[in-house]
Symmetry: none
Subunit: 250 residues, 2 copies
DNA sequence: CTTCTTTTGTTCAAAAATAAACAATTTCAA
DNA sequence: TTGAAATTGTTTATTTTTGAACAAAAGAAG
């Protein structure tokens, strides 16, 4: 019994029975509990089952025809705080740019029920908003598998065709001395393209990223209009940014 | 026993049994496990079987394992038959268009391991190929929530920028009298845009759709070059199409 | 709040499968 | 027939998977 077959049987069993325990599965598959657990970890990561203590449960929304992975779970509370602030600035009828940052992704649940248009290059964002009242415009071009997003020349041209009220973008590093820095050239240029076409650009930035620098410098602080960060940002750092003329929300 | 015969027997065995182990195959074919592995590598590269550790599985078993309520799963066997034929026409390095038809979707598992580029407007196709060796180009524009795909003017312009070796498109209805018909204007115009930019256009069409007509006429039979259907198509119908000058694979 | 039980994660060793290297065999053309 | 190329089998090394043992974490019970 190989891995693929086991996975198939586990999902099938969970679907049929609603929930199942590790022990039962180990017996059913003639394998050890350890192996079952390892399988369940993978299946849960793919969103195919809900992992419970001692077993797994049927996931309610398996009806989704497609699904993309999102690794936005770290620092969830602070990111949600940021997104709540961001969501409050949004008006009915707005056209928004949203890039592929992990903080930006968490904005989705806050805007599900708004009557707005979102232009995005992030596949998880599309998946999240496709069954919502938001109308979605997807940026076209080459798919970057690592980042689950669309990047590149064609993508930038696509963005350049639109004009939006607001752009919500993420960043890997920001510092007063160096400005905005990133780990990837591709993400950086998409962010710049969006900022260029937006009336107001919001930088969603977890407090831990303030005053950090990554390897690629791509834009000065003037790229964005408003910096939104969380309430754990050090007050002296926030003050320094304000002194430097940056509008900060937190 | 040469490679051609072995290949035929392996595919046949996998189809019959759903999954099979290297050991069994080695016995069955009176050959070494090493040879079986080498064969399986080739067959998997062609998408004819799904390689697992220790053996191989039927492609559809993998596709359907986690998609119980998927529309693509109806008439799965015939659709897979069509897709297998389609997959065999694909060469290394090809650029393909794939539209958002449910039959076209099932082509994905057959091409996972090929070194090709796929340009598509279908979100499920992107999700299916994003973790594969296929490089994906996503058509940009307005997201059609019902069809889980991108359609519209911008999408068509995007398609018009590319040139591909092959286009694989689906259709709602086809008849000798009326040509190609569809249920949706949007899907139809995307299909036309792709066909226009492809060297060879393949129409993937379940036999039950032959000689049916939907409400919107959108193109003559000359839009495509090759019609691929399944082996349950009525011989007299297939003959009639051939008489009319259509190239049919089945 | 502490203690006890259960579950989980981690590490490690064994087993299985695969890939690589090389030798033997077959095939094909000249 | 002979030599070169392709295919196959065997041996060996590498990788992956698995199960067991044990420590850590999470609930449950008192």
């Amino acid at each position: 019994m190989n891995f693929q077959n086991r996975k198939r049987l586990i999902v099938q069993t969970v679907e049929e029975r609603g929930s199942v325990e590790v022990q039962e599965l180990a017996e059913l598959l003639h394998t050890s509990e350890m192996t079952v657990r390892r399988d369940l970890v993978q299946l849960a990561a793919q969103g195919l089952v809900y992992r419970t203590r001692g077993g797994a449960m049927k996931v309610s929304a398996v009806t989704d025809a497609f699904r993309f992975e999102n690794k936005a779970a770290v620092n969830a509370d602070q990111k949600d705080y940021i997104c709540q602030l961001a969501a409050q600035t949004i008006q009915e009828g707005d056209i928004l740019f949203m890039d592929c940052g992990s903080t930006v992704f968490r904005l989705c649940p806050f805007i599900r029920n708004r009557r707005i248009t979102v232009i995005t290059n992030s596949l998880p964002v599309v998946a999240e908003l496709i069954n919502s009242s938001v109308s979605v415009n997807l940026v076209g071009g080459e798919v970057d598998k690592d980042r689950q997003a669309v990047h590149g020349l064609i993508a930038e041209e696509h963005i350049a065709r639109y004009r939006a009220n607001r752009a919500f973008i993420g960043v890997d590093g920001i510092s007063l001395r160096k400005g905005l820095t990133a780990n990837s050239e591709r993400e950086a240029s998409t962010a710049v393209a969006m900022a260029r076409q937006a009336e107001t650009t919001y930088l969603l930035c977890h407090s831990a990223k303030l005053e950090t620098e990554k390897y690629l410098y791509f834009a000065p602080l003037t790229l964005f209009d408003i910096l939104i960060t969380d309430n754990e940002a050090r007050p002296d750092v926030v003050d320094a940014y304000r002194q430097a003329g940056v509008t900060v929300m937190n």
